[in-house]
Amino acid sequence: MLRNVALKSLRDIRRGFLWWSLGLAGFVALIVSVWPTVHSNPSLNKLAQDYPEALQAFIAFGGAVDYSSPAGYLGIELFSLMVPLLLLVAAIGTGAGTIAGEEERGTLELLLANPVSRTRIVLEKTLALVAEIAGLGVVLWLALWVGALLADMDISAGHLAAATVTAVLLAIAYGTIAILLGAATGRRTVAIGLTAAAAVAAYLVNGLAPLVHALEVPQKLSPFYHYAAGDPLRQGLSLTHVGVLVAIAVVATALAPYFFSRRDVAT
């Protein structure tokens, strides 16, 4: 685990990864275990569909509010908010800690004294972030798949995977933005704060767009729109929308070494 910067970075987060995995799996287990009750109670679906439109836009994932199908239920309870929230917190935390965290702790100075270019350090640390979030995605998908089998949910492993992959890519997009901001400023709190603020804004823009005409165009710029619009739990992976999320991560990753290599590293 000490062969290079990427593996060393993964080694650093190994304990955190374990806790994140347990948390995610536990949360999925909790939600799935309630499914039989929800399923046998059609009035709940009726109630939800009577919610104001504004609320419906926020709680649904992709398609309409629907408590009667596993896809609708998992979308509302997991994928519309909690799954992206948890993955984003993990990704932004790791991303901001990666360059800016080492810089603030002072260990970056000695790392940079080794014959490793700054570009390589950023790229290897990005690779570690991708591996971490993808790993959490695998845990999430496994928990969903096993849970769906046990709770007798009628949803395919493929559709669960499509939603998980989309959520993972959303988190990676924000994680790379946090790396970029940390690499450019050297300050962890700035990287966390700005990335989190951008995520909240994008989430709100996407949620409010159905109600506010003026947000129709900005909505298309929101990563959360591309996260949900393909309706992956019902439709599978949408290459167009997933492509946008990947593009965001690629652009952020391409810019990070540029800014990092040009600036002075703090004492």
Partner: protein
């Protein structure tokens, strides 16, 4: 001799009263170059430029004939660095840290051997180590790959005297096999002990560069013990005297040139003992910069 480091009009602007201005010097292969100066004078700025942690505002800096910025990776393959403010990965053991850096360097190195010489326990996490032991880890990682240039920033801070001796041996061995050492310090006795040449930086400007031998030869150190403490103004205006320091019956002088005027002045009083020897670097710098600033070297 081949040049290992060359700085030409090296300038780094940082905000007010910081950074360095038009610094010129060269460091030759196989020598120990002592870089002296008060805190905040620009020592660390120069070192951070050598490491390409910060970028010059103006001027040129080459190491092994390579551009410090463009060829940073090539340079750092042949460079070892001990930072003044050493920060290591707290949760790693010394062994893991050395293994990590050895991998990044693509060379096994002789970390374990040097650690053993320094009596350093590599199986403790950095967090568990005392300051002195952390400094040893810093020394090991700076020396383990036998670098051609070793940059040391206040290397002996926190080390006990026995370990300091081992450290001096490591430096001597490095230069014996042709390695070059850039040593930043404000401990003059240490620089005098190790360095061949020194550069003195003050307020961001390189004030002088000379060999330790030349600098010391310019002054003599005289220590006179009197029967009675002489009046405090007794040696004012004596030709050649650059500094007087009185401690009761004992008076110390730094002086340059012929000793005769001082001897005549001393003879007015009852002298019990007299010691004349080559000046220490400390005498030299105190004599040169007396009264200019309280924290002068």
């Amino acid at each position: 001799m081949a040049e290992v480091v060359r700085a030409e009009q090296l300038t780094k602007n940082y905000g007010l009263n910081r950074g360095i201005v038009d610094v010129d010097f060269t460091v030759e292969a196989g020598e120990v170059f002592g870089y002296l100066g008060p805190n905040g004078a620009g020592k660390s700025t120069t070192i951070r430029l050598l490491l390409d942690l910060i970028r010059p505002s103006r001027g040129r800096l080459t190491i092994f004939g390579l551009d410090s910025r463009r060829d940073g990776v090539e340079i750092r393959k042949r460079l070892g660095y001990l930072p003044g403010d050493l920060r290591l990965y707290d949760r790693m053991t010394g062994r893991d840290l050395l293994e990590y850096f050895a991998h990044l360097r693509g060379a096994r190195g002789r970390g374990a051997e040097i650690a053993a010489r320094l009596d350093l326990d590599l199986d403790r996490t950095i967090k568990e180590l005392s300051r002195g032991n952390r400094q040893k880890v810093g020394i090991v990682q700076a020396f383990m790959h036998d670098p051609d240039l070793i940059v040391l920033d206040e290397p002996t801070s926190g080390l006990d005297p026995l370990v300091q001796e081992t450290f001096y041996e490591l430096v001597a061995e490095a230069t014996a096999r042709g390695g070059t050492v850039f040593l930043s310090s404000h401990v003059l006795s240490e620089v005098q002990h190790m360095a061949d040449r020194v550069g003195l930086i003050r307020e961001g400007r390189l004030d002088l560069v000379d060999s330790v031998e030349n600098l010391r030869a310019a002054f003599m150190h005289v220590e006179a013990t009197f029967a009675q403490p002489p009046p405090s103004d007794a040696f004012e205006g004596v030709a050649g005297v650059r500094r007087v320091e009185q401690d009761g019956e004992v008076v110390r002088f730094a002086f340059e040139g012929e000793i005769d005027p001082l001897l005549k002045a001393l003879a007015q009083f009852h002298v019990k003992a007299l010691d004349v020897r080559e000046a220490d670097l400390e005498d030299v710098f105190l004599a040169r910069y007396r009264g200019e600033e309280p924290d002068a070297p």
